[in-house]
Symmetry: C2
Subunit: 741 residues, 2 copies
C-alpha cells in the first residue's frame, strides 16, 4: 500500500476518532454545541500562508534581547494587536544581559590552533550573513583569561566525574571540554566548577548533533561542522529571571543586588564551539582512551587527557542592563472580566530564530487574529484574554519571570491558566502541564486533525508511541490507553514562573519529532531552514493555532472551569510509587555494590592495565516513613472524587453560582506551593514539579523528596516527605471546602 492512498483509507478507519464530540468537559450540552461551532469558525480564519508570512517577517533580522530587531519586532506585534482593537501595550523591564567583548580560544600546546568561533554565511540561506547577529557564546559565562591543561569530560554530568575519579583523573585547575547533550547546557559548567575546573568548553559532537543524524546543512537539516549552539548558562534551577532582581520585578527602579551576589551566575569562563573547532583540540589530547560509551563521532579515538594539550581561553563581556520589551495585549472578558486566560510565547531569539521562537509566535498571532475575526461578528470572550509576547526568554526566561514577579498578587487572584508555546515543527503533539487539566487536553487533542494524515493528533501520537515502543506489553498498554496524558513541566520556556513560582495552572504545547535538525540557537535557524526542513507549508503552525486556540477558547468559555483533581491525585500517586521504587532500588543496588566491593570484585574483575581505583563502600540506605505522603494522598483522592460529583452536578444545573466555585478551582494549584520552597532554591515553590538541580530543563516530580534520595540526603528526604504531605493535605482540605461552595 503506497503512502498516497492513506488519506482516503484513513477516513473510513478513523472517523470515530475525530467525529464531533457532543460533550466538552466544563460545558453543559447547549453551550458545548455553541463552543464547537465557535471553534469551527475559529479554525476557518486560520491561514498557513499567513503563518508562513509572519515567520518570514519576524525572522528577517537578528532579534535578541537588547537588539534593534527585538524592539522592532515588539513594536510590530504591538501594532498588530492595536490594529485588531486589543488593549495592548509594551511593558518594559531592565535586565542584566551580557554580550561578548572578547572571545579567544586557542590551543597553545602541543601544536597551535586558533578556534575560528564563527559560523560562515551560506549562499542558500539568505539571512545567514547578516550583520548584527550575536557571535557564538554562552550568556552569563564569567569573564576570564585562563590557560591550562585540557580534560575531556564526556557530557560533563556528575556520573561522568565519578568515572574520572575511578580513573584517578582530576579536573582541578584544568579546562574541561564537554559534549552538548544529555543535560541542560548550564549543568555542564556548574558541575565542572563544583569539581574545581577553571574553564569550560562545550561543543556539539557530530554523533549527537551533526552528520550521525543525517545530511548536514544546507544539504540536509543537521549541524554542519561550523554550527554552534549559543545559549544561556545562567543557573536557572536556582532561579530564572534577571540575576540582579531575584524574586522581584526588574522595573526601572527596582532594588538590585551586585552581580557578584547573584546566585545563578557561575564563576568560570564558558564557551560553546563547533565540531570543526573541537576537532584539533580533541585530536591532540592524550592520556587514557575514553570509556567505550564516551566516544563521539569525530574520526579518531578520543582520549581524556590531561597531557601535553594546553588551551588558552579568554572571554570578556559587556555586562549591560538592557530593556526587555514584553508585549501584553488584552481583551476584557464580557462575563468574567476578573478571570484571566493567559497565553504566551517569546519573541526574542538568539539570532534570527525562525523556529525558536517565531514558529510558535506566528501561530499565537494567528490565533489572536482569528479571535479578532470572531469578535468582528459580535462575539466576545466570557473571560479576559491576555496574549503575551515575551522578550528575553533565551538568556533566562527574563520577560516572563519579571512580569510574573511584578504582578504576582494580581495573577494569583485572576489567572485561570497560563498557556505557553515556543518553537514548533512538523510531527506529533506534545503537552505538559498541570495534571488537573488532562481532561481539557484530552478533549482538544481528539478534536484537532493532523494535517498530514487526517486522523486526530491524539491518534497520530498514539500510533507513533506504539511504533516507538519495542515491548509487546508496552505496545498493548499504549493501544489500550484512550486518555491523553500530560507530561510534567520541567523548565526551558516561559511557563516556569507561572507554575513553579506562582502556582498558576499551566500548559506547554507544541508539535515535534519530524523537523529535527541542527539549527538550534545558530544563525541557521532561519526562514530558509524552517520552510525547507521544519514545517514546509506551515501546516503545523496552523495545527498549533488550533490546539492552543481551543485551550484558550475552552478556558475562556467554560461554564465550570475544566479542572479534574482526580487526575492530579493519580499522577502524584504514581510519583509516590516511583519514589518508593527509587529508594528500594537504591537500597538494593547499594547492598549489592557494597557486597561486590567487599568481595574485591572491582580489583579482580577490571583490567589491571587500566589502573582503576576501586570504589569505596557507600552507607546503607535507610527505610523512610512514606505514610504521611500516603495518608495525604488518600485524603486528596477522597476530596477530588467528591468534588468531581459536585462539579458534574453543577454542569447539569447549567453552572449556577459558578464565580466563587470557579475561583476556588483555578486557585487550587496554589495550595501545592510551600512557603519555604525547595531546599537550596527557595524561588521554586511548587511541591510537585521543578526542573532538576542536575538536569536543568528535565523535570523532577515531587522534587524535594526525589532529589534528596538521588543525592543520598536521607534526613532531608524524610523532611521533604513531611513538607509535601503537608502541601497535599492543604490541597485536599481546600478541595473539601470547595465542594461545599
Amino acid at each position: 500500500m503506497l503512502k498516497k492512498l492513506f488519506p482516503i483509507l484513513l477516513l473510513s478507519v478513523f472517523n470515530f476518532s475525530y467525529s464531533q464530540t457532543k460533550n466538552i468537559f466544563g460545558f453543559n450540552e447547549k453551550d458545548a454545541a455553541t463552543q464547537l461551532s465557535l471553534e469551527s469558525s475559529f479554525d476557518k480564519n486560520l491561514s498557513a500562508e499567513n503563518v508562513g508570512a509572519t515567520v518570514k517577517l519576524l525572522s528577517a533580522k537578528p532579534h535578541h534581547i537588547g537588539s534593534p530587531g527585538s524592539k522592532e519586532n515588539a513594536e510590530y506585534i504591538l501594532s498588530l494587536y492595536k490594529k485588531w482593537g486589543w488593549d495592548a501595550q509594551i511593558e518594559t523591564f531592565y535586565v542584566l544581559f551580557p554580550t561578548p567583548k572578547t572571545r579567544v580560544l586557542e590551543m597553545v600546546s602541543p601544536t597551535s590552533y586558533k578556534a575560528i568561533l564563527k559560523e560562515p554565511a551560506l549562499k542558500e540561506d539568505p539571512t545567514s550573513g547578516q550583520s548584527g547577529q550575536l557571535p557564538t557564546y554562552n550568556a552569563y559565562s564569567a569573564d576570564g583569561d585562563v590557560t591550562a591543561d585540557l580534560v575531556f569530560v564526556n557530557y560533563g554530568l556528575p556520573d561522568d566525574y565519578k568515572i574520572l575519579d575511578q580513573m584517578g583523573i582530576s579536573v582541578k585547575g584544568k579546562i574541561v571540554i564537554a559534549k552538548y547533550g544529555h543535560s541542560w547546557r548550564g549543568t555542564k559548567p556548574k558541575v565542572a566548577q563544583e569539581h574545581g575546573a577553571i574553564g569550560c568548553i562545550i561543543y556539539s559532537d557530530p554523533m549527537d548533533d551533526g552528520y550521525f543524524a543525517g545530511d548536514v546543512y544546507p544539504k540536509g537539516p543537521f549541524k554542519n561542522e561550523y554550527g554552534v549552539q549559543r545559549g544561556s548558562i545562567m543557573d536557572m534551577v536556582i532561579n530564572p529571571g534577571d540575576p540582579l532582581t531575584p524574586g522581584i520585578g526588574a522595573t526601572k527602579d527596582a532594588k538590585r543586588i551586585e552581580k557578584s551576589e547573584a546566585l545563578n551566575i557561575l564563576k568560570i569562563p564558558v564557551l560553546p564551539i563547533s565540531y570543526h573547532d573541537a576537532k584539533p583540540l580533541l585530536e591532540a589530547l592524550d592520556g587514557p582512551n575514553v570509556p567505550a560509551n564516551w566516544q563521539g563521532g569525530l574520526p579518531f579515538a578520543y582520549h581524556i587527557g590531561p597531557g601535553k594539550t594546553k588551551v588558552h581561553l579568554k572571554l570578556a563581556f559587556n555586562w549591560d542592563i538592557v530593556p526587555c520589551y514584553d508585549v501584553i495585549a488584552k481583551i476584557k472578558g464580557a462575563k468574567y472580566p476578573d478571570e484571566w486566560v493567559i497565553r504566551g510565547n517569546h519573541q526574542d531569539a538568539w539570532v534570527n530564530g525562525a523556529s525558536d521562537p517565531i514558529s510558535g509566535q506566528a501561530a499565537m498571532l494567528e490565533e489572536a487574529k482569528s479571535i479578532t475575526e470572531l469578535m468582528k461578528t459580535g462575539w466576545k470572550p466570557d473571560r479576559t484574554l491576555v496574549y503575551c509576547s515575551w522578550d528575553g526568554e533565551e538568556p533566562g526566561l527574563l520577560g516572563s519571570t519579571e512580569w510574573v514577579e511584578t504582578h504576582q498578587k494580581e495573577l494569583q487572584e485572576k489567572a485561570v491558566i497560563y498557556i505557553n508555546t515556543d518553537g514548533n515543527e512538523r510531527g506529533f503533539i506534545y503537552a505538559e502541564g498541570s495534571h488537573a487539566l488532562e481532561p481539557l487536553m484530552d478533549g482538544i487533542v481528539k478534536n484537532v486533525i493532523d494535517p498530514q494524515t487526517n486522523v486526530s493528533i491524539f491518534e497520530r501520537r498514539k500510533a507513533k508511541d506504539a511504533l516507538s515502543e519495542n515491548s509487546t506489553d508496552g505496545r498493548e498498554k499504549i493501544i489500550n490507553e484512550n486518555n491523553f496524558k500530560l507530561d510534567a513541566m520541567g523548565s526551558g520556556s516561559d511557563y516556569s514562573s507561572f507554575i513553579q513560582h506562582a502556582g498558576i495552572p499551566s500548559l506547554n504545547l507544541g508539535f515535534g519529532g519530524e523537523g529535527s535538525g541542527g539549527e538550534y540557537h545558530s544563525i541557521y535557524d532561519s526562514f530558509y531552514d524552517f520552510s525547507t526542513f521544519k514545517d514546509p507549508g506551515f501546516h503545523y503552525g496552523v495545527a498549533l493555532s488550533k490546539t492552543a486556540g481551543r485551550a484558550v477558547l475552552r478556558m475562556s468559555q467554560a461554564d465550570i472551569l475544566p479542572f479534574d483533581f482526580t487526575h492530579l491525585y493519580s499522577t502524584i500517586n504514581g510519583y509516590n510509587e516511583e519514589l518508593q521504587s527509587l529508594i528500594k532500588n537504591e537500597r538494593e543496588s547499594t547492598n549489592i555494590k557494597n557486597k561486590m566491593i567487599k568481595l574485591n570484585y572491582f580489583a579482580v574483575g577490571e583490567d589491571p592495565k587500566k589502573n582503576l581505583i576501586s570504589p569505596t563502600a557507600k552507607s546503607e540506605v535507610p527505610y523512610l516513613d512514606f505514610s504521611p505522603l500516603q495518608n495525604a494522598l488518600e485524603d486528596l483522592k477522597n476530596s477530588a472524587d467528591h468534588l468531581k460529583v459536585i462539579f458534574q452536578d453543577k454542569i447539569n444545573k447549567n453552572g449556577g453560582n459558578s464565580i466563587a466555585f470557579n475561583q476556588l478551582l483555578y486557585q487550587a494549584e496554589q495550595q501545592l506551593l510551600t512557603e519555604t520552597g525547595l531546599p537550596r532554591r527557595p524561588w521554586y515553590k511548587h511541591s510537585i514539579y521543578a526542573p532538576g538541580f542536575y538536569t536543568g530543563y528535565g523535570v523532577k516530580t515531587l522534587p524535594g523528596i526525589r532529589e534528596a534520595i538521588e543525592q543520598r540526603k536521607w534526613q532531608e528526604a524524610q523532611d521533604q516527605i513531611y513538607a509535601d504531605a503537608k502541601a497535599i493535605t492543604k490541597l485536599a482540605n481546600y478541595l473539601k471546602a470547595a465542594a461545599l461552595k
Copy 2:
C-alpha cells in the same frame, strides 16, 4: 586503594576459592591426591618464555594452507613430537582452496576510485611487509565480473533487508556493501544472494572495528584505515570441510563432486575491504539517509543508495586442490589404550597468525612438552592422548573435518573427548562444550590461578560478569552462582565435526576480553602485535596450558569418566523453556503487530516524507505440542539422577569394572544425534547444538525447533519437537541401561 596493593590483599580474601581441592570429580580420594600432585608437576614444566618463543617462531612467516610456511610449520611441529618420543605423523588430505588471481574494485560513477586492496607494511611491525602473504580476499567467493549500482545494507542481516523492503529498496541486480559484524561474515553474501544481489563487498566500519574502540595500529591495537579482515565465506552452516567431499574424507582418491555441485559455495563474487577503501564509495552514495542505527563511524551521513553510484567488481581465483597437513601425535594409554583423549588446535593462519591460531597452538605444544617431561619421570597416561595440529581451519575447518570424516567410526568407538583451543589472549576464561562436562570444568577453573590477580580463573570471571551486569537482580544471581557454566557450541573452530557431526563430547577453551584489537585475519596479526597488545609476557598462554592440560590429564586419569548428565538435563530443559517463551512472545508480538496494522498505525505514525511501505499482517502463531519434549526431558532427568547415584557408588568402590561403564558414558552424547540431521543441512546431526543458519558462528540450541520457530515454519517446528524428543528419549533409555552395567 591502588592497584599495586591488590595481590597482597586478595590472598586473604580469596584463599577459599583456590585452596587445593581434595576431591576431583571422577576420582576416588587416593587417586585425586595423586592427580593433584601430577598437575602440580605438570604446571612446573610450563614456561611463558617458551610459549613466547613458539609464538614468535611459528608466526615468523605467512603459513596459510598450501603455502610453504604451512608445510614448514607442520614439519617443525612433527619434529617436536618425534623428538619428544610421541608416535607422530602427518596425515595429508587434498582439498579445494581458492586463492586470488584477479581482484579489482572500482567506483565508475559518479566519480572514479580504484580500491587499493592492500595493507601497507609498517616499520614497527617487522613481519608486516613479507612476501608470500595472501592478499585480502574472501575464500570461496565466486569468480565474477559485475558492474552495478551500489546499495548499503547495514550488516546484511535478514532484518536489515526487511527495513529495505519497507523503504521500497530492492538489491536485485545490485552490488551490496555490508559492514562486518553482528553475524558471521559468510551470512552476509548468502543473504544478499538470496535477495538477488550480484555482488557483495564487506568492509570493517570504524564504529565496530577501528578508532571507535581506541587507538589504531600500530599506536594502539585497533584496526587502522587499511586493515582488512580476510576470511572464508564458505557456507559452513550447510557443512564445513572440503566442499568437494561432503561427508567423506578428502583423501587422495576420494570421490569428488564438481565445484558447481557444492552446496556450500555461493554464486556471487565477494570481496572484503578496508574502511579507507569503503569511504569514497559510501560517501558517494545517495538515495535516502540510513535509519538511525545503521550509521557507522565514517565522518559523514550514510546513505543507502541506489543512485548514481556504480561500482565494478571483478574477481577471479585459482581453484586449486592443495595438500592439507594434519599433524597427529599420540601416546598410547597404559591402562585404557582404546580410550582416546583428543586435543587439537589449528596451525594454519590467514597470514602470519600470531594470535589466530599460534597463541593457542603454542599453549598446546607447551602442554605436550610438559607431558613429555612427566613421562621422563616414568609416568604414563592411563588413556591414549592424541594431540592434533590441524591445517586448513581458516578456509572451512578443513583439516579437522576431513580427519573426523575419515576416522568417524573409530572415533565414535574410542574418543572420550575432544578438547579444542584456538587464538588466546589476556583476560577471562571462557568455555563452551558438552554440558555433561560442566562438573569437570568447574573443578578445573576453580583450580587454575589467574596470572594477573592471583584469584582462581573462576572467581575472576565471576567478578567480571558481576561488573558487566547492570541489574541488581542479575548481579545477585551471578554472585550466588557457585557452579561454572559451559556455553553451548556454535561453530568457528575445529570442534564442529567432533561434536555436531560425530557426537564426540567436546570442549572449547580460551582466555579473552583484555586483548581486543583489529588484527583479526590481517597482516597485523603478528608477533609484534601479539606481544605488545594481546598477551605481553605470554602468561595467558601458560594459563591456557594449565586449563586445557588439566582437562586432558583429568580425562586421561579419571577412575570413572567425569560425565554428569543431570547438568545436560537441566541445560536442555532451560532451552525447552526458552523455546516455549520464544513462541509465546512471537505469538503475542504477532498479535499486537497485526492489531497495529489493522489500526493503520504504520501509515499514521510514521513520517509521511519517508514514504515507507506499511507491513502486511502475518499469519497467527499456532500453539504447538511441547509435551513429547517435556516427557522426554522428564525421562532424562530420572535416568540422569539415577545414573549419578550409580556413578558415585562406583567411585566409592574405587571404580571397579569401569571399562564398559566408561565406554557407555563417553558414547552417550552420540545418542543425541539424529539419523537425518537438521532440515536442509543433514551433515549437522546433533539435536541440541548447531551453528545458526543465519548467525553462522553463533549457536542455536535445540536448533531444529528453534530455527523453525524463528522462520515461522510451524509444521516443521512440531516435527522437530518430535525428532528432538525421540533423541532425548533415546539418551534417557541408554542411560537407564548404562546404570545397570
